[in-house]
């Protein structure tokens, strides 16, 4: 039986059209719908399924961020996590919060909570860093199974199928370990209204990064954030001959 720590991040909802701030310092987050990072939902789902299969004894959800991060934690609790830890990071510190800080916080918490497994989403859909799992594993000196699309427990070890370029890789690791969830790992359940209500009764602990002894000084400076290039407009052509000519020109036929 093991204790599972799951990292969840509050990000701008995947369906929202992102707008870049005019001064290129970042993206507009005020008044924008936020929700749990989709890859973290998959991580939570996997941890909850482990608990349902009696492979895990307890699922602890962790989120670093301002007070609104608690809403994300409630979603994790509604999906089936047992308790939550909110690491409060607000204001300027939150603006420059980077994977290295989150990894340090997760590493510290997993030692404090005596976790045997850390599962996070492979990357967040806002900064797309894809670093937290790897850094956490390095800080803890635990094995890592990143981009997992299948996790099986076989007597004290884990067999992990990883999504790699053009195929799959199967690895075996000992426990404790750090895992990151890929898209095909599972289909996360929907946090239903009654479960959201029940989640309000589950314990949520609030700590600060200072309590954990983690220095939040930024290591990376964001120089500029820009919109991706705009897709070029299409054109309507009069007949099939022109179409064929255009396709030939473009080298498609």
């Amino acid at each position: 039986m093991s204790r599972v720590l799951v990292g969840v991040k509050r990000v701008i909802d995947y369906a929202v059209k992102i707008r870049v701030k005019p001064d290129k310092s970042g993206v507009v987050t005020d008044g924008v719908k936020h929700s749990m990072n989709p890859f973290d939902e998959i991580a939570v789902e996997e941890a909850v399924r482990m608990k349902e299969k009696k492979l895990a004894s307890e699922v602890i959800a962790v989120s670093c961020g301002p007070s609104q991060a608690q809403e994300t934690l409630r979603t994790a609790l509604a999906m089936g996590a047992d308790r939550a830890i909110h690491v409060e990071v607000a204001g300027a510190e939150y603006d420059t919060l980077q994977p290295i800080h989150v990894a340090k916080i997760l590493a510290k918490l997993s030692q404090d909570e005596k976790a045997d497994l850390v599962i996070v989403g492979k990357q967040a859909i806002d900064d797309d860093s894809n670093q937290t799992a790897q850094m956490t594993a390095a800080l803890l000196d635990w094995p890592q199974g990143t981009f997992a699309s299948k996790i099986e427990k076989t007597d004290g070890a884990l067999t992990i199928t990883r999504e790699i370029d053009g195929g799959l890789e199967v690895i075996k690791t000992k426990i404790p370990a750090v895992l990151s969830a890929d898209l095909r790992l599972n289909e996360p359940r929907y946090a239903t209204l009654p479960n959201i209500m029940k989640a309000k009764k589950k314990p949520l602990k609030k700590v600060s990064a200072k309590d954990l002894g983690v220095d939040l000084a930024p290591r990376i400076k964001v120089v500029s954030v820009e919109d991706p290039p705009v897709r070029q407009a299409g054109s309507i052509i009069p007949d099939v001959d022109t179409l064929v000519a255009k396709l030939k020109e473009g080298g498609h036929v």
Binding site: A15, P38, F39, E187, Y190, T192, L193
Partner: protein, 84 residues
């Protein structure tokens, strides 16, 4: 008059309203339509018919959940996995 299905109907309405917050065309449209459907059938008194309607409502809830899941999965797949 006793209304044995009152609770089930209310629960269904609340659940659907909650789901409507994520509706792609906006919550307002969803709420209007939802309200229309419920008020259209509000005069129904046959318990059997009400039960069938509630069953249908529960089916719709499942469908909407599945729709959201699929929509999110497809968006992620398109953004991160489709090279062509």
């Amino acid at each position: 008059m006793a209304q044995p299905h009152r609770k089930a109907v209310l629960n269904l309405y609340k659940t659907l309203l909650y789901l409507g917050r994520d509706w792609p065309q906006g919550f307002d449209l969803f709420r209007k339509r939802l309200h229309k459907v419920f008020s259209k059938n509000s005069e129904e008194t046959d318990p059997q018919k009400i039960q069938i309607m509630v069953k249908h409502g529960e089916f719709v809830v499942k469908e909407i959940e599945a729709l959201y899941k699929l929509k999110k999965y497809r968006a992620m797949k398109r953004r991160y996995y489709d090279d062509n």
